[in-house]
Subunit: 163 residues, 2 copies
DNA sequence: GGAATATTACTCGGATACTTTCTGTCCGAGTCTACCAGG
DNA sequence: CCTGGTAGACTCGGACAGAAAGTATCCGAGTAATATTCC
């Protein structure tokens, strides 16, 4: 059970986009260059973010990706589900209904204890991720190294401006 | 990010073993028959439980698997980690150290904010799983349908006794 | 009849194919920019 | 000088291979019970 590395990639990219600001779209190639990632594959993951409504994309020159909402309105859970999908990590196969001694349909009107435990754990996991927004992450980074925010923004804007 | 279905399988089997009792080993084939699962593959997963020290195995006739500890001393997290491995689901690739503007080694002495958030969420997930033991699950099943425990035990012991 | 022994059947354990998912890459459709020609 | 049109280049978007993990299966090593034989 390993999380796709695309989640980490797009989280870093989302922070970059948050720092650059929504008025300045950033192409996937630039995000890939800044984070030293394969551009085409990163683009694929950013498309998933677009389908989830987290980022907006514009084609053509001066195009690229920008955050579709305020960083404070995008949670880490939003990003994770956009990449990993909405399905639960644990999927109950209803084993209790199979075999020579199946559970009665009456008993099966509620989820089994195992599924309930897994669901509770996953809910706790999701709760933590939903409690953290991109704005929270950005604020924590800024608290540790305040110059990062502006320096990164300048790198992205400077890379596009000279043209 | 989907959890192996083997986790569900062995959790059901562990409950079966808890109900049968440690003095009566149950072969993998019987567990597979009872839960309508492929016997050979289930055996493979049970081996993982053995390596983790959760179950003990004996070869030969009248052999099989039995719980190595009291059901109250085996948590759901123990079973999950035995099947899925000890690694974290999120693995930080240290993207911040790469690219044209890498983070300084000084900044990297502590995990980045993204990794911290993921770790906190995973910790909450593990906490819930660690808080539930096989004895808890067994008690919940018994509370809902008290006859299940003895009936299942009889099925397993009766299947072996007539020989 | 009892005990030692050889046999037999049963169990786990790891080594071996097959399927699905994840990872990575490529090229085409659409679009905005910039240039160029004409008024 | 200003305006309209056209060509060009840049971007996303989905379709196409390769790698890794998960899934499923089989057969052999070891063991305990059993049947047999001898005392």
């Amino acid at each position: 059970m390993r999380m796709s590395q695309g989640v980490e990639w797009v989280l870093h990219c989302c922070l970059n986009l948050a720092w650059v600001g929504p008025e300045h779209p950033v192409p996937a190639a630039k995000l890939a260059e800044f984070n030293d990632l394969p551009g085409a594959y990163l683009n694929k993951h950013l498309q998933a973010l677009g389908r989830a409504g987290l980022v907006a994309s514009t084609s053509g020159p001066r195009g690229g990706f920008r955050l579709a909402r305020d960083p404070g309105e995008i949670t880490v859970l939003d990003v994770v589900t956009a990449i990993e999908g909405h399905g639960d990590t644990f999927h109950c196969a209803e084993i209790r209904q199979r075999g020579p001694m199946p559970a009665t349909p009456q008993q099966c009107r509620v989820p089994c204890e195992i599924a309930t435990t897994m669901r509770r754990a996953e809910s706790a996991w999701r709760g933590e991720l939903a409690a953290t927004t991109l704005a929270d992450l950005s604020a924590q980074v800024e608290a540790k190294s305040p110059q990062t925010l502006t320096v990164v923004r300048e790198w992205f804007t400077a890379a596009a401006a000279p043209k």
